[in-house]
Structure formats: structure tokens, C-alpha cells
Amino acid sequence: MMKLEEVLKKYEPVIGLEVHAQLKTRSKAFAPEEAVYGALPNTSVSVVTLAHPGVLPKVNKRTFDFAIKMGLACGSQITEYNFFDRKNYFYPDLPKGYQISQDKTPICRGGAIHIKLPDGTTKAIGITRIHIEEDAGKSMHIEGEEESFVDFNRAGVPLIEIVSEPDIRSADEAYAYLVEIRKLVRYLDICDGNMEEGSLRCDVNVSIRPRGSERFGTRVEVKNLNSFGNVKRAIEFEIVRQAELIERGESFVQETRMFNAETGQTYSLRTKESLNDYRYFPEPDLTPVYVTQEWIERIQAEMPPLPWELFDKFTKEYGLSEYDAEVLTSERDIALYYDEACQYTKEYKAVANWISVQVKAYLNELAYTIDEFPLKPKAIADLVNLIAEGKITHNIASKQLYPLMLENPDIEPEALAQQHQLIVNTNTDELLGIVKEVIARFPDKVEEYKNGKKGLLGMFMGQVMRATQGKADPKLATRLLQEELERL
């Protein structure tokens, strides 16, 4: 087998992705029942979904709201006049024998997703189209059973299919593109973005061409990719496979291949299946949907802040490094949490660190989302402010006050610190007494200090801190110690 690196020296991959995102609408795309995940098989199915004789579909307008959100986020053109088409094919998980889709009038056209390349630059991956369609049910082949089963809970759940331009040039770019799509659909709160559970699905189109060539090579579509990692593996496998065929002088046809996660290889479907004639025609059971300017404006007004908008805010307004901003914006709710906390403090960097380290540690340990985190953003801001104002040491804040706050989320951090006497001691008289006591206990060390061993100051400080259980204001304690020692 050829090595990928060698292939890439000679050939340039050209990759396009088709991503299906399952929309989180409450009900199905064209049927009244709830769209559920993980329920008992065939418990969320209506006569419409089961394609009983005499039923008619009805458009769920929320599906359009969600698709328009995605389009606006990608900078796409929103289509005004939308009709639906039937995509006809037979499969047991497709109850009507056709899928209602948008063939001729996709809801969104154009736009782009911006990915970050390893060298720090960004690259725009063009969006060809985004269209609305309905999901199929799930065929289940149970080991040892002679017959197959079908679960129609998923049938009719709305999907958007996001088709990219063939702008992607490597498996890593494809991966980065998927990460951005997932981040975006989660920011928009339109899809769970979970590839393993199938709420996000991806087919890839891969071709290669000699470097410098403008012409596209023969394109192969790869399906059955159920994780980000597999998308990458499948692309890399295809690049090498196609290069080997070309090197051997063999021609190959445009076809659909399946990815086998166990072997890491792609294999051909029977050509009969890949040569499906879907016999598209306009869906006569649905009237066209007109997306008015007012509708678009309403969605525009509902748009949450987008990851790159927050990234810009965090780097420019809050002065975070790109790295810190990237970490904080990778999840919408964390980013919004941080943003809110920043309303209560100017210690932007310190809050960022606290959230990225202490808060995230807590969430990870309990497998919580930020929604389930007991503390409000203001509490974290208050905590950071206490440290900045010197009212509490970082050490005590992290080891004592923060755990106490988690247990008493309703008490203000400063009040809590006072209750537990964690506030830094700034009482000069009291401290001076302790300083004198410490000095009196170590006459030989005082002698050594006097003789020039100034490093012993740290030892004295340690003793003062021990005596005050860490609550002495370090600056004040140092000053008092120095003055007292010099005076002797």
C-alpha cells in the first residue's frame, strides 16, 4: 500500500461533505407526533408517519425556523418560494415509499463555514445548499432473528442536509469543518450534534487529481460514517485507494461506497443500488411555503450570539488570547456563562482561567453541563474579585472558599468567606503581635538573618501564615516582618 504522505505529494484531494443534521423540533416535519430519541420502538408514530391510506402531510413551520437560522449563520441566501419534492425509492424504513424533500428549491443557497487551519489562518468552505427533508425510520437486524424489524419513531423527524462545495483539501480540513458545523448547530440550538447517536450524519465525496491540475477526478461517495474519526479515516483510505488505482492505470467509476469501521476500508455497494433513479417530482399534497422578509427578520432577531462573534468579543473586549477564547467558545453555554460573568468583573483573564480550570473540572467530574452547575456566573466573578482585591488569597479561594460556595450556592461568596473567617487579616496590630511572637520563638534564626541570611524571611512568613491559618495578608505580613527584624 502507498503511504498517504507520498500520495499527497503527488495528488491533491478534492472533498465535499453532505451533512445531515436532525432538527430538535418538538414535533415531526410533516406529522403531528413528537420527535423523540431513545424511546421504545414505534411509540411515537402516527397514521401520517406510518403512511396509512388517506393521510396527508402538513408542514411544521418550526422546521423552517431552524433551517433559516442555519442559513443566516452561514450567510446563505434564504429562498422565498419553497415547494417540496418527492424522492421515490423503496425501503422498509421509508413508509410512504418516498421521502419529502426539497430538490428544486432548497431553503438556503450559498454561504460558507469558516474553519481554522493548523497555521492559524482561516479558510472558507463554501455551502452549496441547505435543504429540508424528513428522516427515515430505522431498520433493525437482530442477531439470530430470521426477520428484520423497523422502528418508525425516527421516520418523519426533520433534517437539514448541508451540502458543501468541493472546497475541502484534506481529511483534517474535513474534520475541522465538521467540528465547526457541530459547534454551530449547537450554538443555534437546532440539533444535538451527536454523530454517534446519529443526530449528525455525514457522507463524503472524495476525488483526487494530480497537483496543479484544474480538472476534477472521478468522484466517489462514501456513506456509513458514524464518527468524526471515521470521516477522517474513510477520506484517508479513499485518497490512497484512488491513487493506487490511478498509479496502476486502472480507471474507476463514480459510485457510492460504504465505510467499514472495523477494517477502516471502504467497499463498493452493488451498482444496482447506487444507480437509483429517484423520480423526483413536486409534492402535490403540500402547498408552497413562502418565506417573507418579516419571517427572516423575526429569526434574525432570535439569533443567539455566534461562536466567532463571541471569539471576537473575548479577544478584543476582554483581551483574551486566541487560545483561551477558542477554548471558551467551543461550547455555547460555557461561552455565554463566561460572558455573563464578565458583566460583574474586570478580571477577564482570571475569570476565564477559573472557568476553564476549576469550573470545567467540576463539570467533567460529575458529567454535568453548565446548566447543571450550581453557581451563577456572578458568583464566580465575585470570587475572582475577592482575590483581586486582596481580600482572600488564591490558595484559600481555590481550596476552601470555592468548595464552600458549591455547597452553599445561595450565599454571597464574601459573606461565606466571613462566616468561615477566610478573609485576609489586615489588622496591623493583631498581625504585629503574631510577628513578634514568631520572631521571639526563633532567636538563632533572627541572628542568622541579621548576619545577612535574608532568605530566611520566607521561613518567617511560613510561620506567620501557619499561625494565621493562611489568612494573613501576605504583603502586610512581609512588611511587618521586615520592619520588625530590622528594628531588632
Binding site: P53, G54, N88, P95, G97
Partner: protein, 474 residues
């Protein structure tokens, strides 16, 4: 008991204490019992249920709380869903199927206290013009049991013809209500496309399908249409236009003078049965005598209507009937051994010849290589037919044609020549292609005593005009 011409007569007798719903239902049940074995009209008779409801409605009438359709006994074609009742579209493929919901039409009928007496035979999936394509066997014409009643709502027409119910709910995709109404000497109305919700109507060709009404009097049809028509949350293609008070309009004594265009084909073409041409002439004279203006016109694209209709309806049918695959309900071939044979055997064994012919035709016209030559072109021609029809109605109130080129034909006549059978729809399909309303009314009999129907077509949402002119001729 007498054969009631209209619900109004029935109600009058009820008010006078000469009749009640229970007695009326018993009367129809008796007729069904006497005639059904020969005519093969009802494939299910809901005798106990109908009697039970009749008693309930009688109580309501006494209490003065009865709905608009109290006293109306209705039969429904086997393509209309009625919750917890069998539904088969006269096809083996829906063997044993029971509907889990009721069509909007049925809901509205019941809400106004109509009584549903049974389920009526028809051509399989409403495809046919003779009611011979049925898993239940052919329905026969009560005027001559050796002849067909027309189709696809053949049995729905015979039920009214033979007084087995007062009114039938049929469906009309290309003439399926009007052609059998003509063959059986009753009235058949196909309303404007989208006037009545299609929720609960088994789809044949969605952009053509209409629920249609078959009755004895324009008054019954007007009243029933008023009840069943109008907006429905289940059907997004249904018209949101308010429903006029058809019955009240019909009762108004005014007699508007109309401009009527009569299709030259319908009176001059040698292929039209002489008796029908004769009837057309007589009708024209009658209309003129009533003060209407009648002009003979040519509709130049007439010859394209039938091919357009068959391309588009078969295309839609091929997709609409894909759901009958043996996976979830209905017939499943016991010979099936894997997925492919499940589909092939189930559908080959479950569908009749005519249905299969149309599915294959529809699949062909939608296939990539022929799509533009057939489907796209037919869509374009449909638009032209619509425009031409619209233009016609800028000048005229009605287009008058014979409903059919010939009267009821003997059973088995066209079994081997489907295309010839398709010609029976020559005059009726235009209304479906253009989406406009049309009515067939009895206008005479031929030399064999077989009923002849004439058809009025009007502009969109002008059902009240159709009913008005019908009444003036009956």
C-alpha cells in the same frame, strides 16, 4: 315505502309523523338485501350501527337538536376512511385493513347527523371507468344488470339509482363521479379542486383527486356540500375560502340568464352516440327556451387533455401507491423470502391489472430518461389547458358537454383494450386537469332505455351556479 327524491321530502314526512329515521334505514337495508346480491354495490353494510344511529337521530329530531343532515342516509365509496371500519380501495393489497381515523368528510357528515349505511364497491384505487376492476367483482348497472355502472364510483351511483341510500360520497379524479352518475341516471358533482378536504381520501392522483357527491336532487347535493366543504387543518391544500350557503342559494327564486358554451365535439363528432347527440340538441333548445344564451364553440386543445391526464395521474399514482408494500399493513405475500421478493410478490399479487398498468406507466414517465419528454411536457400542457379553460370562463358561465361519448356498455367490453376504455373519460377529465367544478345530470335515455348524462363545467368555486342550472333542467 316511496323512493324519496330529496332530504327535504324525507324531513317533511318525518315532521308529519309518517316516517322516522329508523324506518328509513330499514327501507334502505331492505333494498340492499334485495338487490345487493345481483348488483354487488355494498361490500360492507353497517346495519346494526345505522339502526342504532337512526334511533339516536330520531331522539334528536324529537328534541329539536338534530343536525342539518338528520334523515340523510349515506353510502361511502371504499376509498374513504371511516374509523374502525374496513377500508380496502377494492384491492387485495389492503386485505383486512381497518382505518384508524375518519376522513374529514365523514366527521362532518356525522357531526350533522347523517347516517352511514355502508361501504361501496368501486374500481381498485379508483382506477377505472366500469367498476370491473375490483377485488369484490364488478358492480352492475340497475338499469341493465348486464351493463356496467361506469366507474370508478360505479357502486356509489348504483346505490342512489337503486335507492339503497339517499346520497353517496364518491371520489372523482378524471370523471369517477360524473361518468357513473351519467350511466346510472343520477346527479354527480365534482367540486372545485381543494373545495373539500382530502384528509381520509385514499390518494390516486393527489393534484386531481376530489371528493364527489352523487345524489338524486341538486338540493341534497347542495346541502351536503355545504356541510363537508371548507378549510381543514389536516389538509394544507384545501381552500380557505368560506363555504357559501349553497342550499339557500338554490332555493332563491331568481333565474339568472347564463352564457353557455357548448363543445362542438359533443354534438357533431360521429364517435359520439347518436342518442347522446340528440339529447344534447334537446338540452340546448331547452336552455335557450329558458332564456340562456348557448354558443357552439371549439376547444382546440381537447385532444391533448386525455394524454396529459394519463401521464400526470399515473405519475402521481406510481408514487402514491408505493406505500402498499406489505411491510406495515394489508396483504403480504406468503411466498416472500427476502426483501426484494417481499416487494415484488406482494405488489404483483396484491394489485390488479389496471393498477399495475398505471403504476408502471407512471414510473416510466417519471424515469430519468423520459422525464422531460412526458412528465415535464404534460405539466406544461396542463398549465395551457388551465389557462385556456380560464379564458373560456371569462366569456361564458358554463361549458356544456355530454358527460360520456356513449351510454353504459356491456360488462367485459373493454377488458382487453384499456385505451378504448380511457376514451370514456374524454369529456370529464378536463375539469380535473383544470381543477374546476363540474356536474353531470340525467338528461334523457337512449333507445335501449339507458340513461344519458350531460355535463356542465363552471369556473373555480362556482358550484352554486352548477347546482342552479341543474335544477332548472331537472
Amino acid at each position: 315505502m316511496k323512493n324519496y327524491h330529496s332530504l327535504a321530502e324525507i324531513r317533511r314526512d318525518m315532521e308529519e309523523g309518517l316516517l322516522n329515521c329508523e324506518a328509513l334505514v330499514r327501507h334502505y337495508l331492505k333494498n340492499i338485501e334485495e338487490k345487493n346480491s345481483q348488483l354487488n354495490v355494498f361490500v360492507s353494510v353497517y346495519a346494526d350501527e345505522a339502526l342504532q344511529r337512526a334511533r339516536e337521530v330520531d331522539e334528536k329530531i324529537k328534541a329539536g337538536t338534530a343536525g342539518k343532515l338528520a334523515g340523510l342516509v349515506v353510502g361511502i365509496k371504499d376509498v374513504i376512511c371511516y374509523q374502525d371500519h374496513p377500508l380496502q380501495a377494492a384491492s387485495k393489497i389492503l386485505d383486512g385493513f381497518v382505518s384508524q381515523f375518519s376522513a374529514t368528510v365523514v366527521e362532518r357528515l356525522l357531526a350533522e347527523d347523517a347516517i352511514i349505511i355502508g361501504r361501496q364497491n368501486c374500481d381498485e384505487f379508483a382506477m377505472g371507468s366500469s367498476n370491473e376492476n375490483s377485488v369484490y367483482g364488478p358492480t352492475r348497472n340497475a338499469a341493465d344488470p348486464e351493463r356496467v355502472p361506469g366507474g370508478s364510483s360505479g357502486a356509489s351511483a348504483v346505490a342512489v339509482q337503486a335507492d339503497m341510500c339517499q346520497l353517496s360520497i364518491g371520489s372523482d379524479t378524471g370523471g369517477s363521479v360524473r361518468q357513473p352518475a351519467a350511466f346510472c341516471g343520477v346527479i354527480g358533482l365534482k367540486p372545485t379542486y381543494s373545495r373539500i378536504s382530502r384528509w381520509g381520501l385514499i390518494a390516486y392522483a393527489s393534484s386531481f383527486d376530489c371528493i364527489g357527491l352523487i345524489g338524486k336532487s341538486p338540493e341534497d347535493i347542495a346541502l351536503t356540500l355545504e356541510v363537508v366543504a371548507g378549510a381543514d387543518e389536516h389538509d394544507s391544500t384545501v381552500s380557505q375560502r368560506p363555504v357559501p350557503a349553497y342550499a339557500a342559494y338554490l332555493q332563491r327564486e331568481d333565474a339568472p340568464k347564463y352564457r353557455i358554451a357548448c363543445l362542438r365535439e359533443g354534438i357533431e363528432n360521429e364517435a359520439i352516440a347518436p342518442a347522446i347527440r340528440q339529447t344534447m340538441q334537446e338540452s340546448i333548445e331547452k336552455l335557450r327556451k329558458q332564456g340562456h344564451e348557448v354558443e357552439i364553440i371549439d376547444f382546440p386543445i381537447l385532444q391533448y387533455i386525455l394524454p396529459t391526464y394519463y401521464i400526470l395521474t399515473t405519475a402521481e399514482a406510481s408514487s402514491n401507491l408505493a406505500r402498499y408494500d406489505g411491510v406495515r399493513y394489508g396483504y403480504r405475500s406468503p411466498q416472500a423470502s427476502d426483501l426484494e421478493s417481499l416487494y415484488k410478490k406482494t405488489r404483483s399479487e396484491g394489485f390488479g391489472r389496471e393498477v399495475k398498468r398505471r403504476i408502471i406507466l407512471g414510473t416510466f414517465v417519471l424515469s430519468a430518461d423520459y422525464y422531460d419528454a412526458y412528465y415535464t411536457k404534460a405539466q406544461r400542457v396542463r398549465r395551457i389547458i388551465k389557462e385556456q379553460t380560464d379564458k373560456l370562463f371569462e366569456q361564458y358561465d358554463f361549458l356544456l358537454t355530454p358527460t360520456t361519448p356513449d351510454t353504459a356498455f356491456p360488462l367485459g367490453s373493454f377488458q382487453d383494450d384499456p385505451v378504448k376504455m380511457y376514451l370514456a373519460d374524454l369529456f370529464t377529465v378536463q375539469a380535473n386537469v383544470a381543477g374546476v367544478p363540474a356536474i353531470s345530470i340525467p338528461a334523457g335515455k337512449d333507445e335501449k332505455g339507458l340513461p344519458i348524462g350531460i355535463q356542465f363545467i363552471a369556473n373555480r368555486f362556482e358550484e352554486e351556479k352548477l347546482l342552479k342550472i341543474s335544477r332548472s333542467l331537472l
